[in-house]
C-alpha cells in the first residue's frame, strides 16, 4: 500500500506543494491587485493571521499524538483579560502580569490534558468543556474590573504595543520575526529532541511506545500543556497588537487552527506531520484570505475557500487508503504492464 519512499521524502513533497500554493497565490493576487506585491503590504498581512498561526503551531503537537484541542480560542481570551485585569485593576507590573497570563494558559492546558491522558476521556469532549469553562472564567474575571466587558481594557504602555506592532525598516513586521522564532523553537522541540520523538511515537503506536518504556501518559498530557501555553502566547501577542484586553479575542479561531494543522500535513490520527507544514499552511490560508479581501471579496465569504481547501486536502490524502481507489489504481497499473508486455 505504501510505497517505500521514506517519511521525510513524503512530508517534503507535501510541504513543497504548500510552498507552491503560496507562490501561486502571491502571483495570482499580485496580478489582480499589484498593491499586493508591495513588501510592506504583503509582509504586513501577517499581522492579520498571527494568532491563528501561533496557536496552530502548538496545537500541532496535540494532533501528532492523535488528540484534538478546541479550547485554544477560549484560552486566548482568558489570558488576555487576565493580563488586562491584573495590570489595570490590580495594579500589577505589566511584565509580571504577562508571566501570570502564561501560567494561566498553561494551567488550562494541564487540566484538560490531565483528563485526556489519565482518565482516557475523548479529547474532543474535554476540550469542548474546557472551551466553555475557560471562556466562562474569562467573563467572570471581567467582573473584577471597573471596565465593562464589551469595552475591553486599554491604555497599555506604548513599548508593549510597539514591540508587537513595530516593523524593521518600516517593512518587516516584528510579529514575523516573533513567529519565526516560535517556529524554530517548536521545530526543534518536535523534530530534534527526544521529547519530540516520543510525541511522534505515541501518535504512531501508543501501545508499542509503552513497550519501549516511554511514559505515554506524561507525553500526551504535556502536549496539551504546551498547547495551552501557545494559546497564552498568542493571547499576549494579540492583546499587545490591538492594545486592548478582551475576553472574546480568540472567539472564532478553532476552525482556521484545525484547518491549518490538517492542511499542513498533520493527520488527526496522529503520527505524522510537523510544524513547518502547519506554519506554511497557516500562511497559505492567511494569504488566501488577505488576497481575496484585497481583491474586494467580502470578508465574510472567505471561509468558503478555506473549507473547500480543507475537505479537498483531506480527501486527497485519505483517498490513498480507500480500497476502491486502490483497486482502481491497481487496475491501471496492471493494464499499463499488459500494454508494456504487448
Amino acid at each position: 500500500m505504501l510505497n517505500s519512499k521514506s517519511i521525510t521524502k513524503r512530508v517534503f513533497r507535501w510541504e513543497t506543494f504548500l510552498i507552491l500554493l503560496l507562490l501561486i497565490e502571491v502571483l495570482v493576487f499580485g496580478l489582480i491587485n499589484p498593491r499586493f506585491l508591495m513588501p510592506r503590504v504583503l509582509l504586513g498581512s501577517i499581522n492579520n493571521f498571527m494568532t491563528i498561526s501561533v496557536v496552530a503551531l502548538f496545537v500541532t503537537l496535540v494532533l501528532v499524538t492523535g488528540g484534538i484541542d478546541i479550547q485554544s480560542g477560549a484560552i486566548v481570551g482568558l489570558t488576555s483579560i487576565t493580563i488586562g485585569v491584573l495590570w489595570n485593576d490590580v495594579g500589577m507590573n505589566l511584565y509580571l502580569a504577562l508571566v501570570i497570563g502564561l501560567l494561566v494558559g498553561t494551567a488550562c492546558g494541564a487540566l484538560s490534558g490531565f483528563f485526556v491522558a489519565y482518565t482516557e476521556v475523548q479529547p474532543m469532549v474535554v476540550t469542548l468543556g474546557g472551551s466553555f469553562l475557560y471562556s466562562g472564567i474569562a467573563l467572570l474575571i471581567t467582573n473584577f474590573s471597573a471596565t465593562e466587558a464589551y469595552k475591553g481594557i486599554s491604555g497599555f504602555p506604548e513599548e508593549f504595543s510597539q514591540f508587537v506592532r513595530g516593523r524593521i525598516f518600516g517593512i518587516i513586521p516584528h510579529q514575523l520575526l516573533i513567529f519565526l522564532f516560535l517556529v524554530i523553537i517548536t521545530y526543534i522541540l518536535l523534530h530534534r529532541t527526544k521529547y519530540g520523538r516520543y510525541v511522534f511515537l505515541c501518535g504512531v503506536n501508543k501501545h508499542a511506545a509503552t513497550y519501549c518504556g516511554i511514559r505515554t501518559k506524561q507525553i500526551v498530557m504535556s502536549t496539551y500543556v504546551l498547547s495551552g501555553l501557545g494559546a497564552a502566547i498568542a493571547g499576549i501577542l494579540l492583546t499587545a497588537y490591538l492594545g486592548t484586553a478582551k475576553t472574546d479575542l480568540g472567539k472564532e479561531i478553532t476552525l482556521p487552527v484545525i484547518t491549518a494543522v490538517v492542511l499542513g500535513g498533520t493527520s488527526n490520527l496522529g503520527g505524522t506531520g510537523g510544524v513547518i507544514g502547519t506554519a506554511l499552511a497557516a500562511f497559505v490560508i492567511g494569504i488566501l484570505r488577505f488576497g481575496l479581501s484585497l481583491a474586494n471579496v467580502n470578508t465574510q465569504y472567505l471561509d468558503i475557500p478555506v473549507g473547500i481547501l480543507l475537505v479537498l486536502a483531506v480527501a486527497i490524502r485519505f483517498s490513498g487508503s480507500n480500497p476502491t481507489v486502490q483497486k482502481f489504481i491497481g487496475k491501471l497499473r496492471r493494464s499499463k504492464d499488459l500494454r508494456k508486455n504487448n
Binding site: V125, G129, G136, I258, Q300, L302, I304, V311, S319
Partner: protein, 337 residues
C-alpha cells in the same frame, strides 16, 4: 456485582434535571412557578430539535459540527421566502437544503472515509460563507406577523405547538430506534461496527442516514428559529453545534457511540437552555453560564469514562482468570483408551 438491569442514561439525566429544578426552587420558590418552568422548556425548542438530529450522528459514533451553520442557512432561506410571501416553498427548500448538506457530509464520512470532525468542520466553514453569499451580508427582516406568531401558539396554554411537536417527534423516534430492527442499527454501528458488519448490517448506509437526519432536523430547527426570533442575521446559529453536542453529552449520549437516546438529547437540551434562567433565579449574573456548562460537561464525561474503564479492566481480568485451570477445581480427568 453485575448490573442486572441497566438504568437508561436518559433517566439519570431526567433525575438530574428534576433535582436541579427542585434545588433551585428551594432557594428561590418563584422558580417553581409553572409558567416559569414552561417558559424555560419552550425557550429551548430549537436546541432540542437540533440536538435530536445530531444525536443520530453521535450514536453511530461520528460527529457533526456543521449543524449550527445548517440552522443559519436554512433559517435564512426560510426567512427570505416567507418574507416574500411563499412560505411553503421556503419551508420545502430549507428542508431540502438541510438534507442535502447531510448527504454531502454522509458521503464524505461513510464513503470517502474522511474523519467526521474534519469533514463537518470543512462543510461548516463553507456553509457559513455561503450564508453571506446568499444574504449579501444583510439581515432578513419584516417577516409577516402570522409566521412569527406560530412560535407563540400554545397548546392549551402550556407548551408551545413547536415544543409539543418536538416532544411527539422525540417519542416516535425513540420508539422506532428501540423497537424496530432498523432503528437499532444506529446503536449497533456505534457500539461495535465490526460486529455489525458480521451480522450483515449496512454500516455505511446507516451513517449516511444519520447525517441526513442531522441535516433534516437542523433545517427544521432553522425554520423554528425564523419564527421565534423573527429576523435572521448572517451569524444566526453560530455556536449551536457546540451547545447541542454538550446537550447530548449531558443527556447521557457518549461521543464514542452506541450509547444514549434522543430522549437524553432532549433532556440535555432542556438542561442547557435552563442554565441561564436558573442562574438568574439563583442570583448569579448570566456570566456564569459558560463556566457552569463547562464544569458540568467535564465532570460528567470524566466520571463516565472512569466508570467505563473500571468495568472494562474487571472484565479483562475475569477473562484471563477463566483461562487458568486450577487443579483443585478440575471437573473431569478422563483416561484416553
Amino acid at each position: 456485582m453485575h448490573k442486572q438491569r441497566s438504568i437508561p442514561r436518559a433517566t439519570t439525566s431526567i433525575i438530574f434535571l428534576v433535582l436541579m429544578f427542585l434545588g433551585v426552587g428551594l432557594i428561590n420558590p418563584a422558580f417553581l412557578d409553572i409558567n416559569n418552568i414552561l417558559l424555560s422548556l419552550n425557550s429551548g425548542v430549537v436546541f432540542t430539535i437540533v440536538a435530536i438530529g445530531i444525536a443520530f450522528v453521535i450514536i453511530t459514533g461520528e460527529i457533526d459540527v456543521s449543524v449550527g451553520a445548517t440552522v443559519g442557512m436554512t433559517a435564512a432561506i426560510c426567512g427570505n421566502f416567507v418574507r416574500d410571501g411563499h412560505p411553503f416553498l421556503g419551508l420545502s427548500i430549507a428542508v431540502l437544503v438541510g438534507v442535502g448538506i447531510g448527504v454531502i457530509n454522509g458521503f464524505g464520512v461513510a464513503y470517502m472515509k474522511i474523519p467526521s470532525i474534519i469533514m463537518t468542520l470543512g462543510t461548516n466553514g463553507i456553509i457559513r460563507g455561503m450564508i453571506y453569499v446568499y444574504t449579501g451580508g444583510r439581515w432578513i427582516e419584516n417577516l409577516p406577523m402570522e409566521f412569527k406568531s406560530l412560535s407563540q401558539a400554545q397548546f392549551m396554554g402550556t407548551f408551545t405547538w413547536f415544543y409539543l411537536l418536538t416532544l411527539i417527534a422525540m417519542i416516535l423516534i425513540y420508539v422506532v430506534m428501540n423497537r424496530t430492527m432498523i432503528g437499532r442499527y444506529f446503536r449497533a454501528v456505534g457500539d461495535n461496527a465490526n460486529g455489525a458488519t458480521l451480522l450483515g448490517i449496512p454500516v455505511k448506509g446507516t451513517k449516511m442516514v444519520a447525517f441526513m437526519l442531522s441535516g433534516l432536523f437542523a433545517s427544521i430547527g432553522g425554520i423554528m428559529y425564523t419564527s421565534r426570533v423573527g429576523f435572521i442575521t448572517p451569524i444566526a446559529g453560530m455556536g449551536y453545534e457546540m451547545k447541542v453536542i454538550a446537550a447530548c453529552v449531558l443527556g447521557g449520549i457518549s461521543l464514542s457511540g452506541g450509547v444514549g437516546s434522543v430522549i437524553g438529547a432532549s433532556v440535555g437540551a432542556a438542561i442547557m437552555a435552563s442554565i441561564s434562567r436558573i442562574l438568574v433565579f439563583l442570583g448569579f449574573p448570566s456570566d456564569y453560564d459558560n463556566t457552569i456548562t463547562g464544569i458540568l460537561l467535564i465532570i460528567i464525561v470524566v466520571f463516565d469514562s472512569v466508570i467505563q474503564h473500571r468495568s472494562a479492566e474487571k472484565m479483562r481480568k475475569q477473562r484471563l482468570a477463566a483461562k487458568v485451570v486450577h487443579s483443585e477445581t478440575a471437573s473431569e480427568v478422563r483416561e484416553h483408551a
